[in-house]
Symmetry: C2
Subunit: 332 residues, 2 copies
């Protein structure tokens, strides 16, 4: 008999709370290349479960960046056999990274805020209106009536702050601010957290940004900026990986620019492209045409070729869209 | 008979609400070089007073920057004679700029959140725990029971967001987030406002930042960064005034730096110094020694001489403080 396609059942907050109370041993999975929200959600859930006597482990495929260590403490050792597997902020099993092989098909419950969630788990607690998975975790802990300790509160604040650009983006709702206000009751250190998350750049990154600004090219009447990060720059400064995210941030902040492009070298003739757009441009569409994908305002792609070839390809994809805008066509 | 020194009487929120209801014609003054909080407070108060049939004008000594125009509409023409004069977010009459001459000594009510308020008005509604004067205005409008329209809500959100670095700084409290949550009820456009206030840099400013990063000098084991903005850079890029504030922001974000110094040329041998420090350094102390002043974390001074002379003076003031830190002395 062929294996049937798994059914995924939606759970409300109350049902999820009951589900957690009914089980005892948990393995909590975060996504690979962990960010503040997946780690905040994972650890806040861990601390909440500990408060009611459960056993739980938090597992991540990749090394946890040092800046999150203030809310990360050792978790329990939990055998896979007989445990309940939970994934937090994981929209698809592929995002589990190297954990996918072991856990991809045996996730019991996924708690997430991505509308694109691929429903790979047995049960799904999804709130696509939540700015961060940590918003859902807060409501869940409240629903369960468990004590929130300072570590859990710091973790949830970090998740919400990092997923909203510190309450800056359009995913913020009144509820986001209400939860933030409530988290202040638990002796969190928001200013310290925000300094670490948003206002700390290494000297090397500053040096790399200087080099990258030298590469700035403007196209289509300054509506498009292209910033390039070569392998040489990365070697010289020692900056790589998620540290380079700040380049895409620069590209989306330039006045008049509706398409910010960052091109990051990842190999001899290999580049990773980040796209940041404003309406009527749609980053997701552009990303797709370049062989990648993403969201309406932020997308990306991996491309092969020389830096100049790649720039030409990107400009070729953008040209008809910019012309459509000039001609008054509203969606492109 | 000599003029007696003016007495300044403190008013509670409730007393301030009653004061406003008792009077009919208002002149609302903002401080010079207006920012989001003084304008947000002034206009939100104006819209609130209009809702209950009062006549009011908002006056500022300087031109209102274009980025605030979305909540700025024409106010009434109010004769000085018989009007009640209110200052919002104005800590001392000197900050009224060119309005000081006419209004400095006849301010009836000041609504402010600066603990340093010099009590130059007849009445003072001060809440030094408020992150922004707009927080106080929100509570005042609520206390008065007046309708809050979208313009007033956008104005107050702008004031709170700009005075807190979008909820990032240590002046944010649970109340700040609660008020933000309430403002969401009034159809405000937070993401749009935040994009304008925090995520928009002109191409010229980006070019100037690139030039300024080329000037970066590190001292005292990388604990001090000095960034310089020459007159030539300002001429080349056309960037000046408050646009250059972003340079001080860069200086405070470098990892390991506890003293960020920006030196901005303002004349042939004239420079304005911005200091951004972290404990145990105290920017206010350093600023004073350089002939200026300010707050514990942010201060400034105006200095004459060549760029090199000024750098040397600053380093000479910093040297004993850095040595004291090295020797384990905790406050300097």
């Amino acid at each position: 008999m062929e294996k049937e396609k798994k059914q995924c059942k939606d759970l409300s907050l109350r049902e999820t709370a009951r589900f957690l109370k009914r089980h005892d041993n948990f393995i909590i999975l975060t996504h690979a290349s962990p960010d503040g929200d997946t780690l905040g959600a994972g650890y806040a859930l861990f601390y909440g479960l500990k408060e009611i006597g459960k056993i739980a482990a938090v597992i991540c495929a990749d090394v946890i960046p040092g800046k999150f260590k203030f809310f990360v403490h050792e978790t329990d050792v939990v055998p896979l056999e007989g445990s309940t597997v939970i994934a937090v902020d994981v929209a698809a099993k592929g995002l589990l990274g190297s954990l996918e092989e072991t856990f991809g098909d045996i996730v019991n419950l996924c708690i997430d805020h991505h509308i694109s969630n691929s429903r790979f788990s047995d049960y799904l607690c999804l709130d696509a209106n939540a700015s961060a998975t940590c918003e859902i975790i807060y409501e869940l802990l409240e629903e369960m009536g468990v004590n929130i300790n300072t570590d859990a509160a710091n973790a949830m604040y970090t998740g919400i702050a990092t997923d909203t650009g510190c309450f800056k983006y359009s995913n913020v709702t009144a509820k986001t601010h209400l939860i933030a206000a409530k988290l202040f009751e638990f002796e969190i250190e928001p200013a310290k957290i925000n300094k670490i998350m948003f206002d700390t750049k290494s000297r090397n990154l500053l040096e790399l940004e200087r080099m990258v600004l030298d590469t700035a090219e403007y196209h289509f009447d300054n509506r498009c900026i292209i910033l390039s990060v070569t392998a040489e720059m990365q070697e010289k400064t020692g900056c790589s990986g998620s540290e380079l995210d700040s380049i895409a941030v620069i590209s989306r902040c330039v006045e008049g620019v509706i398409c910010g492009v960052s091109i990051k070298q990842t190999g001899a003739e290999k580049f990773k492209i980040s796209l940041r757009t404003y309406p009527p441009l749609n980053a997701s569409e552009i990303g797709k045409e370049l062989g990648g994908g993403g969201h309406a305002a932020a997308a990306g792609a991996s491309m092969n070729g020389s830096l100049n070839e790649i720039k030409e390809k990107i400009l070729a994809v953008l040209k008809p869209k910019m012309e459509a805008i000039d001609a008054g066509i509203s969606s492109c």
